[in-house]
């Protein structure tokens, strides 16, 4: 499984090949909530997940 580095602690995380942009991961070592970003060239990196609301509509 490909590894990406944690932007918070610098450690590494296993990210599945089929992970989609926006997919959220918790880095077990440091507890950071991370979001997968994929740019136009298809290169992948992790960023700290923003505080994101759940959806509450009717």
């Amino acid at each position: 499984m490909p590894k990406l580095s944690c932007p918070v602690c610098g450690g590494s995380l296993d990210i599945p090949e089929d992970a989609l942009p926006g997919e959220l991961f918790e880095h077990e070592e440091c507890g950071a909530q991370l979001e997968l970003e994929v740019d136009d060239q298809g290169s992948r990196r992790l960023k700290e997940a923003e505080e994101i609301a759940e959806d509450w509509g009717e």
């Binding site: 959220l24 759940e54 509509g57």
Partner: protein, 264 residues
């Protein structure tokens, strides 16, 4: 002051009974918040707008409200349903004013630009949010002015965003926010079951401090209602009740002790 909310299913099954029950208590200061998500879905299908639903990490299924869907949502909620309810109340002999949260800035909400869902593979993802929001402010002065004039205020769950956009807010949240802001005597949520059921048995009373323990024992939709009730009680509402909207006189039924009471 009393705030009553009825969901679309209870209203479709027993609109006459619910509105008759409300009309009998018109003089006491009453706000009625209506749902109607299933009716919106039917109109979306008729208009060729494909409804899309998402599931939150807590397991709550809700509408992902696109701009096109918001147009239909507003037409059905603020227009068709809200005005039919107001007309029915007038037919029953009581004055009513129908408003959405947009009118007079009755409900101001913060749009959720990014939301977390659980996708079809069971993985958590952050996606662009639709037109849904969290209610931040309620114009209590407008409500108190209208109820002071003897009107029942009928509220559609559409809020005004801070960028002037229309937002879908669920009716449980709307009723809870309005009851909290008014420090209402009572919040009543009418639904299509007799209250909170655990293992098929009705729970008569839930204290706010016990709400967290219930989480896994009740369905996610009911859990949401309990959380909204608890939030309003914590904000100063004397008591909140979840009860059946399917009986002849739902509010009389509540007065006799039916349903689940959420208290401090």
């Amino acid at each position: 002051m009393m705030v009553v909310k009825a969901g679309g299913r209870a209203l479709e099954s027993n609109m006459e009974g619910i509105l008759r029950s409300i009309s009998r208590r018109a003089g006491r200061g009453l706000v009625f918040v209506h749902g109607g998500g299933d009716i919106v879905t039917r109109f979306e299908e008729a208009l060729g707008v494909e409804p899309r639903f998402v599931v939150s990490p807590q397991g709550i299924r809700s509408r992902l409200t696109t701009k096109e869907e918001m147009e239909v949502f507003n037409m059905v909620m603020s227009g068709k349903l809200n005005k039919e309810i107001v007309a029915s109340l007038h037919r029953l002999g009581v004055g009513a004013v129908g408003l959405s949260g947009v009118d007079g800035g009755l409900m101001r909400a913060q749009r959720k630009k990014r939301i977390v869902i659980v996708d079809e593979r069971g993985r958590r993802r952050a996606i662009e949010g639709g037109y849904t929001g969290s209610i931040k402010e309620v114009n209590t002065k407008l409500i108190e002015t209208l109820t002071g004039m003897g009107y029942i205020v009928v509220v559609a769950p559409v809020a005004l965003g801070y960028e002037g956009e229309l937002l879908n807010v669920d009716a449980d949240q709307a009723a809870s926010a309005i009851a909290s802001a008014l420090k209402a005597d009572q919040l009543v949520i009418l639904t299509d079951v007799e209250g909170v059921l655990v293992d098929g048995e009705l729970v008569k009373e839930i204290r706010v401090g016990e709400v967290d323990k219930l989480g896994g024992k009740i369905g996610v939709g009911m859990n949401r209602k309990v959380l909204m009730c608890a939030r309003s009680v914590e904000a100063g509402v004397s008591r909140a009740v979840i009860a059946s909207g399917l009986v002849d006189d739902p509010l009389e039924n509540v007065e006799k002790g039916a349903g689940t009471i959420i208290t401090r």
